[in-house]
Amino acid sequence: MTLLQVDGVTKQFGGLTAVNNVSFSVEEGQICSVIGPNGAGKSTLFKLISSFLVPTSGQVRFDGAQVSGLKPHVAARMGVVRTFQETTVFKEMTALENVIVAHQLGLQSRTLGVFLGSRLARDENAAIRDSSSEILDYLGLGHVKDERAVNLPHGYLRALGIAIAMAAKPRLLLLDEPFAGMNPDETNRAMEMVQGIRRRGITVLLVEHDMRAVMNISDWIVVISFGSKIAEGKPEAIRADEAVIAAYLGEDDLELGH
């Protein structure tokens, strides 16, 4: 089943076309990657899909409904949740508090009930606590849950960012360069984490630079260059695609994973 449909999406900033008429779709249960050389428009495309930018033309449909043009929090409520590059977490909170506060969706109790401490609100708070601990354990953060985020090492923060997104119970998780700046060891662990997320029934779309990781875990790869889609297909096909190789010429050959 097609979960995400990107349909002729274009984004212009003034006279600059950052993303030009890009279309592709993501099937439910897939790990799909968007790759491209530096400045290809990956980040812009990512923001368009996660509703942090509004396309100049074209639309993004999620599970049949249009999500482009919606507010980010509305898209999140529909099941499209993004992570951020690098170490974007709530730095002044502990790891556990980070994930607790991210449990905002599907709650029954309203602000007044929360304020007055209604039975429903208290039950939900307990459920949120349990769910948060479970997510942290699942992503290997259980032992640092009471540590404040500012004190956590870099690698943990990336995982915490994913834990925050998981708490919003996404159907489609958008990962913004999840392997950037990682050593091979960390990348392997992060790849396992992404596969673990898919095993929980969450579809994953990631924007990434690290070719080796992308080739290893993706079911489907979309390649963009200068804002336009130049290829899409299974990893083996992308590796042999001449347009892709041409686009990456001049970059480090190793990037293609040869």
């Binding site: 951020f84 905002q104 307990a126």
Partner: protein, 325 residues
């Protein structure tokens, strides 16, 4: 690790109640036992602490907007709106103070709610600047509109029925303050408080997990304005008058300073800050011409040595006063 059969929620509530009482009980003791006892025969000082209670109440609201990451310099405007509403309804409308007071809060809250949506999109220094001008704009609005209809100020506002002595007025103000403290403490320690803190730390990340940032921002700001309106309404009845210049930009800045001075991490912060500044200002009155100078030096010293507010002086309080866990 709690299982489904554990009375986990109840345990959670108790854990929250402990630190709450640790601050609440001493605060109540100071407000309702120590101060009335010491100042019983000193009407002047009783008036000072009554003022401090009401100013603290308004500052608590400003503190709430700090908790969502906005420097709010508009509280004077909402005190003015509350003051005119209560003054007008009691003096011209013949309404009892007790009936008029909720209207004072509601009028300020309504204005805050309406302008909150566009205003709170601004961040940092821009929001601070606009709220600063808002104080002046509201003052001028009352001045010019008042000139147009021929009533710029409302004088001889009746005292609240049932409150006949300075002590009674003080106890009323203290009761309001402790109620406000408990309410704000409860709010910030609840799930909603977590949402507020998350917005202060990163609004984009908060939006990405489904938090309607704009709505929560306006919610916090509206509560702040409501508290300003209530405080302003009571001030009008206490001073029995309200003028356009009852609250100027300096007053709005003071509300912000009270929060800074007490400590932004603590719900108790605005209360400590207000009392410290109001009382020290009164004490310095004895040396007239040097008052402003000394006041300024004191402020600089505090900011230099306690940049996180007076309350950061007690590291133990940090965990207990309930500002941030």
């Amino acid at each position: 690790m709690a299982t489904a059969t554990d009375p986990a929620p109840t345990r959670g509530e108790k854990r929250v109640l402990g630190p709450f009482l640790l601050i609440f009980a001493p605060l109540a003791a100071v407000l309702f036992v120590a101060i009335p006892f010491v100042l019983a025969d000193m009407p002047y000082w009783l008036n000072v602490v009554t003022n401090a209670c009401l100013l603290s109440f308004a500052s608590l609201g400003v503190w709430l907007t700090f908790s969502i990451g906005r420097v709010n310099i508009a509280q004077g405007a909402f005190c003015l709106i509350g003051g005119y509403t209560v003054g007008g309804l009691t003096t011209f409308g013949g309404l009892s103070f007790w009936l008029a007071l909720p209207f004072g809060g509601a009028a300020a809250a309504l204005v805050g709610y309406i302008i909150g949506y566009p205003l709170l999109r601004l961040r940092g220094i821009y929001f601070a600047m606009v709220t600063l001008s808002l104080t002046e704009a509201v003052r001028l609005a009352f001045l010019y509109f008042g000139t147009m209809v021929g009533v710029t100020s409302i004088t001889s506002i009746p005292s609240p029925p049932g409150i006949t002595s300075p002590m009674a007025f003080y106890l009323f103000a203290a009761a309001l303050l402790i109620l406000g403290y408990a309410g704000i403490w409860r709010l910030q320690s609840s799930r909603t408080g977590g949402v507020f803190r998350s917005m202060r730390q990163n609004e984009e990340l908060a939006a990405s997990i489904g938090i309607d940032v704009a709505r929560y921002r306006v919610f916090a700001f509206t509560i702040c304005c409501f508290m300003g309106g209530i405080a302003g309404g009571i001030f009008a009845a206490l001073q029995q008058n309200v003028y356009p210049q009852s609250y100027t930009v300096a007053d709005s800045i003071n509300f912000m300073l009270y929060c800074f001075l007490g400590g932004l991490e603590f719900v108790l912060g605005p209360i400590v800050g207000t009392f410290a500044l109001v009382v020290s200002f009164e004490l310095l009155r004895a040396i007239q011409e040097y008052q402003a100078l000394l006041y300024g030096i004191l402020m600089i010293v505090v900011m230099l040595f306690l940049p996180n507010g007076l309350l950061s002086f007690f590291p133990a309080l940090k965990r207990l006063s309930g500002g941030r866990k």
